[in-house]
Symmetry: C2
Subunit: 581 residues, 2 copies
């Protein structure tokens, strides 16, 4: 596949160095969205917590896995995103006085001491292991493993699911659109107005960028996430100009960095007169004068980066002709025009015709307008991009809104959070559907990689089993189907789950010695652009048939022989045998 | 249609009394989501504002309409929601110092005075007219009309669209699910974990309730919006109990309000012994003991409201039998069990079989377990509800998550915001598609209602035309198709657009005298339950064929003869005539 970045060779990553987590005074360590507090949860988490507390089981040693069962969009890969927000939530987890007051009213039948217990709760007793944010991930592999007291582990469920589901979905959607568009096109996220609320938009801007987009229209995303905000003007700007007389000023200072011949710095030229003259010379008689006025006024505001929306009245009869007139006038003032945006109609045809008109103007005036960018928007999605690739077109940049930010093709991902072990006893959630069965017990996961750096498969092992080793053959089995097996001899082995949170009171469940610390410790957060590079470099290494958009080949997620028997023995033990009459 | 509330007779509503808007110290007047500030906007709003300012046009008198073009979900109605958040945004609109600093860096080519201008901007120069939140609305009718200085009107666009699009979509989705389920079922929103981010979830909980839901699983929505949070326990609670020995306590105090015969207040009974005894008596030999332990422990925590999730192992072989044993034990202690929740499998069949088993237990023990509620969840949507209605089933309450909160069937609504007038000149946005043409000029809208209180059609008039009058025949025309006309003699006339914001510096565009005020004034916000009642009462009055889910009849949105000619003359004037070669 095409990728925006050159892949670096895969080497086993060094274990992350944890940093102190608790700096309650620093607002930067809070979740990005202010709704994210311990009460952003399902009611049943609180009723269960009460029942655990009442039964004296709140501190039982529990292990939970967070994972998903099926890749979205009919594809065979997913990008894991949202981990940083999870850790921000974990480190800020504390019921506020106001929240406790509300809960006391909400649950009047509960004993008053329960609320003292809730008030004391934080995540200092937890260890959290996670796959690195931005990793290409697959069904059933634990993305997060939470170890610690049963009640607090349970209380995190809903919020962690909320914080990973949409983030991963939008990031995956963006990565697929990047694959569809190819590495040489620019992709802009334009979805703020149609997103599922303000935070839906912010999340979409952030994780679309991580998935491979180049920019966003969303200014707040620029301010808070450092993504470059892009935009020109709307149809209303054109409609707001009725006639040339609407222009109060018409004079443009020549470009001081590129003073045209015969002028000097500080000289002004009448851009409207120039544009009107080109309009006459080029025979663009029916192009709208209101639109021409709008373009002149916009060019005077942004002479260095003039990009015009050309479909308010008629793209080829009015918009592109008016753009050419104003672009030629700008050139006369020493400025290079930037391009046009198409927002309706047959984008392939209009882009080619527009380019043809630019080339014709170049021939007449010996200019280089054909180098202008053509931006296209209007209901673009994966299928439209693929169709445009099949036709010829002349579009350089795509603006994608609704389809991207709401993930129209599949607006939800099915992350789940399952109890897999309690007090060293493995737990399983059975189901008629194999895909819905949980893999019991504490597990680790490894990516086995071939000599070219291409991932072969993921292997899940029981905690305590020996991990797979470089150059040593290992039998990898389908978790439920006995006949599906393969030997793999990996060139590289990447441990997928690394510690990302170590509470200062976290207990080891298996004798592993935790480094003692007086404070909670967490993994550092990579920057958004580091995450974006990481996504791109990994996708570039994947086998093309795993990441292609149409009918991709499933990537294998396997278990060791030991884990295979463990799962299947447990299923036999737990599943009641029906009595048929 | 079925409706949760009894309709009140339609009378023209009294004009709202505006209240002072500016109380900057009160946090309750801020937008609910902290991302909602003037930079939560598209970049092009800022570039346009600069271009307007540079051209000296920032204070031109502009009128914008916010509306949508097509009802969602293949239906013929939409519920307008999000108005309160729009007004909160309007009254808090001010660029912060931090935001201005960012914008200065982002737009280095802009003159420094521009940022002083931005710093001075607020909404005190605007008048905003809106249809009441919760109104059943239709395509092309302006939902908001914003009048005032061009630049500030333009700057509101993206944020207002974001705040109305998803709110209206989710509210409409909920109203449709209410219609599908019927008035006698309870509907619970369960979508927090799968929603498009934290605020997507909060918005969904709030506006699903407004659309006709009865409760939510989301505790934060309970706390902030007053919606009753509901929930029982998860599969993990069951999995966390391996055997009866896991129970540390087994004794339950008898119900002091309903002391069973032979006991006195303060007496305790061993609930586990009782349940195990029933298990033996009823021959439920293969029901899971871990599950029984879980149910006992949950019942001890919530003896007054015991509701059990019954599908962890096997609904009919284990879950329902275990529920019956614990329910009978609770009855022995003087408590009434609440019910069961089904979360997988064939919900119609399982609900009927479960009810049958409850009835059988009732026969044996002379109890009334059959009155227990049966809650069903698991991928429920409109089609599933309609299919369940067609089969027989025994479900009392539906929990709906993903399909509701992400609006899976159509995850975005297409609200638009168009300039319709500038300096008293009407503006039009033309398009090849009739549905995309804007209706130019300042307009008002009225709902013409028949004698039974049933809406007949909406009529849009030019501002300044005489409004329609009760009992007087008026010709109503399709906005673009000359041959589509109808005479209507309304029994009631409801003015749809009312002033909801009057900035203290707002200017009248047509000589209307505004009441002078030293402060900005806004409409009061109705409570969420008032909005919910309003939605229900209106839907109950709509003609059934307009609001039915399958193949509904379009509700007519019409214009006056004067407006019809105005639109069509303007189209002829503005549309360039193509030159074909």
């Amino acid at each position: 596949m095409n990728s925006p970045t050159i892949p670096s060779p895969v080497v086993p990553r060094a274990p992350p160095v944890l940093v102190p987590a608790d700096t309650p005074d620093s607002p930067t360590y809070l979740p990005s969205c202010s709704w994210v507090t311990p009460v952003l949860t399902d009611m049943y988490q609180l009723t269960m917590t009460y029942a655990y507390w009442k039964g004296g089981r709140q501190n039982d040693n529990a292990v939970f896995d967070l994972y998903f069962r099926k890749n979205p969009f009919g594809g065979e890969f997913t990008i894991f995103a949202g981990l940083e927000e999870c850790i921000r939530f974990v480190q800020s987890f504390r019921f506020s006085e106001k929240e406790l007051k509300y809960l006391r009213e909400l649950m009047p039948a509960c004993e008053p001491e329960f609320f003292d217990y809730l008030a004391s709760l934080d995540c200092s007793g937890l260890s959290i292991y996670a796959i690195a944010e931005g990793t290409v991930v697959f069904p059933r592999v634990p993305l997060l493993r939470i170890e610690g007291p049963l009640a607090i582990g349970q209380l995190l469920e809903t919020t962690l699911l909320n914080l990973t589901n949409f983030s991963s979905l939008i990031c995956t959607n963006a990565a697929r659109l990047r694959i569809a568009a190819g590495a040489d096109k620019k992709l802009l996220e334009f979805g703020l107005r149609r997103a599922q609320g303000p935070d839906g938009a912010m999340t979409a801007s952030r994780f679309a960028y991580m998935g491979g987009f180049d920019g966003t229209s969303n200014v707040a995303a620029g301010m808070y996430f450092g993504i470059s905000p892009k935009g020109t003007h709307a149809h209303s700007y054109v409609s707001a100009h009725v006639k040339l007389d609407d222009l109060k000023s018409r004079m443009l200072k020549v470009n001081p960095k590129n003073v045209p011949e015969g002028f000097k710095v500080g000289d002004e030229r009448n851009i409207v007169t120039l544009a009107v003259q080109y309009k006459a010379e080029l025979g663009y008689s029916i192009a709208s004068l209101g639109e021409l006025a709008a373009f002149c006024s916009y060019a005077m505001a942004f002479p260095d980066s003039f990009l015009a929306l050309v479909d308010t009245y008629d793209t080829l009869q009015s918009g592109v002709p008016n753009f050419i007139c104003v672009a030629l006038a700008l050139l006369q003032c020493g400025y290079a025009p930037n391009g046009i945006r198409l927002d309706s109609g047959d984008l392939a045809y209009l882009s080619k015709e527009s380019r043809r008109m630019l080339i014709e103007a170049d021939k007449k005036y010996n200019t280089n307008l054909q180098a202008c960018v053509i931006v296209a928007s209007n209901d673009i999605n994966e299928a439209v991009l693929l169709a445009l690739n099949d036709q010829s077109h002349s579009i350089d940049t795509f603006g994608i809104g609704t389809n991207l930010v709401t993930c129209q093709a599949q607006p939800a991902l099915g992350m789940v959070y399952k109890l897999v072990e309690i007090n060293n006893e493995p737990r399983i959630k059975l189901s008629q559907e194999a895909a819905k069965i949980t893999i019991p017990g504490r597990k680790d996961a490894y990516r086995l990689v071939g000599s070219e750096g291409v991932p072969i498969l993921d292997l899940i092992i029981r905690k305590g089993e020996s991990p797979p080793v470089i150059k040593r053959r290992v039998l990898c089995r389908h978790p439920f189907e006995e006949k599906k097996r393969a030997f793999v001899t990996p060139t590289f082995v990447i441990p997928l789950l690394r510690v990302v949170w170590r509470g200062k009171n976290a207990k080891s469940f298996d004798g592993e010695v935790f480094e003692q610390s007086a404070t909670n410790m967490r993994a550092p957060f990579p920057s958004l652009s580091q995450l974006r590079d990481f996504v791109g470099s990994q996708l570039a290494l994947m086998r093309e048939d795993h990441v292609r958009l149409m009918n991709p080949t499933p990537y294998k997620v396997s278990v060791t022989t030991d884990l295979f028997h463990y799962i299947n023995d447990m299923m036999m033990k737990e599943l009641p045998i029906a009595e048929l009459e």
